[in-house]
């Protein structure tokens, strides 16, 4: 009977496939790591992965391939919670890795203390990108709240970068009027009143600002700002660094449950440790991220970073968990900016 023959053939093929897979797994040589990361780190991790693979092969003889997945930080965290098998996560903010620890229990709650520098091998900050010549004379955060200035920033509910933007503005006002939360809220509300488009991610806002010509100023990651100048031309845009901003610490973490299941703990740990080595720090600075160990980086790369006063989320908001609950949770400070009138409140 043809059906039986077909079934036999199918069985043979699947057996063959299975054998291939088993063989591939049995060979101890090659190993694949999955790094689930956020949006603007594509270029950075491409360079870091190559460097690590070379170093690992030289020291152990094992061939390692690192697959990087990029997307909005919140969305990536959700994918990991929903079962995406990430050996390591390198996200935009600690809050998203906290969420993975809380919702999926795949890594311990104290993940941030397992690596140096709060588990952040690189930092960045939030700066402004303006149109060439800075026609609206934007220098500092209060300039964004002026009427007639159109500000582009993504939605903090969906974008990790946007949360840093929002918190930077809030922290600025808190620094000027220590402890005055009401004043900070007023400034942030006034800024969001000037936002005509809330994109869902940082790259979306970059497109809206750079290609659709919407807005006078884009609030952006510092590394993304450098990339915009590189990509769209330094003759079209200027970077304005405010005198005060937030120290963004995008952290990295090992996903214990996944590495133990896949047997990749050793190489995954080495990969994360590698990010803090002088070689990696050099690459980090080259890719417009501020290295957490600047002494290892090329001074010419470091010279590109403007000096400004930086505050951390811990200093200004008492940690990510608190900031998340007070500002971005359902019905919290950010939601309160938008009221039914159709315009930002007050």
């Amino acid at each position: 009977m043809t059906v039986r023959r077909r079934a036999l053939a199918l069985a043979a093929v699947s057996l063959g496939l299975l054998a291939t897979i088993v063989c591939a797994q049995a060979q101890p040589k090659d190993v694949v790591l999955t790094n689930v990361s956020y949006d603007p780190t594509r270029e950075l991790y491409r360079a870091l992965n190559d460097a690590f693979a070379k170093e690992w092969q030289a020291s152990t003889g094992q061939k390692v391939t690192i697959r990087s997945s990029h997307g909005g930080s919140g969305r990536q965290a959700r994918a990991v919670i929903d079962g995406l098998e990430a050996d390591v996560v390198t996200l935009a903010l600690a809050g998203d890795i906290d969420a993975i620890a809380r919702e999926s229990k795949r890594l311990p709650e104290n993940w941030q203390s397992r690596l140096p520098h709060n588990a952040a091998p690189y930092t960045s900050t939030i700066v402004f990108v303006v149109r060439k010549g800075n026609p609206k004379a934007i220098k500092d955060w209060p300039d964004l709240a002026k009427s007639g200035v159109s500000v582009v920033t993504p939605n903090p509910k969906t974008s990790g970068g946007a949360r840093w933007n929002y918190l930077a503005a809030w922290a600025y006002e808190l620094d000027r009027n220590p402890g005055d939360q009401a004043a900070a809220r007023k400034l942030v509300e006034a800024i969001y009143k000037n936002v005509p488009v809330l994109d869902s991610g940082a790259r979306g806002s970059t497109t809206t600002f750079a290609q659709r010509a919407v807005g006078d100023v884009l609030i952006s990651w510092e590394n993304e700002a450098f990339l915009i100048l590189q990509e769209f031309g330094a003759d079209k845009f200027d970077i304005v660094v405010p005198p005060f901003s937030i120290l963004a610490e995008p952290p990295v973490a090992l996903v214990d449950a996944v590495v133990d299941k896949r047997g990749t703990r050793k190489v995954a740990e080495a990969y994360l440790d590698f990010l803090f080595t002088p070689a990696a720090q050099k690459i980090i600075a080259k890719n417009f991220y501020r290295p957490s160990k600047p002494e290892a980086a090329d001074p010419a790369d470091l010279a590109r970073f403007a000096k400004l006063k930086l505050v951390t989320v811990d200093q200004a908001f008492g940690g990510w968990k608190k900031a998340q609950a007070e500002h971005f949770a359902d019905g919290a400070a950010f939601d309160q900016i938008y009221r039914p009138s159709g315009k930002a409140a007050r």
Binding site: G72, G74, R78, I81, E103, K157, T158, V197, A213, D335
Partner: protein, 286 residues
Amino acid sequence: MNLAVARGWSPTLRRPSALPGFGITLGFAVSYLSLIVLLPLAVLVWRAGTLGLDGIWRVATTPRVLAALEVSFVIAALSAVVNAVFGTIVAWVLVRYEFPGKRLLDSAVDLPFALPTAVAGIALAALYAENGWIGALFAPWGIKIAFTPLGIFIALVFIGLPFVVRSVQPVLQDLDHEIEEASATLGASRRQTIVRVILPALTPAVLTGVALAFARAVGEYGSVIFIAGNMPFVSEIAPLLIVTKLEEFDYASASAIATIMLAIAFAVLLAINSIQAFSRRRFGDA
């Protein structure tokens, strides 16, 4: 039970038919629909159910959610109506006239189907932004299209068009010329022929197209977010709010909004189907 039906055990459940295989095909249809459609929907409702009925109601009646639902359903309905009119005209042209490039035009109708919606959204946003080809034409009059509700409307018209055209086209093709000729010989004017003979015959097909276009438009996400501006209370669509809730790891609220959307959409589609059934009865099968 399906077996019983298959052996013709319950003749009361169906009208006698000369075609064999009713039981087995019905059994297959029911299981298939359950597996592919009903099961996922059941999971959705079950997820929302963790909030309880009053919980769902509380989520659904917050001003932000109400505003988003209004934006989604009103603009989807408007776009479906516009597509009904212009889609029918397109179908008419494609069926009734011969002209060079007709095949090309005919295939172009399907493009909104084929294109990944995100690509469509980015293309539309580029076109209708103030520095885009079409957006620049309207900018001098102070009319903004991209990043306003008008942008959502345009995206929804774009993705809905093929549904109406492809529903109306075959019916129009099968419509006998003799009926129109008969109408003319009986003394009807051209207008009377269109209004009283052709349109009634087309109504069920147009309604099918409208229902499909509407259903698609309500759930559309990919193309809309790039052109909508996504401002709460102005141009935020309900599917975006669902995604936002998911990013907050608030699965229950996301499911609650989805369940509400499902209920409203189901009610609207049921209403359209009833009108359709009514017009079929009235004007005969088309």
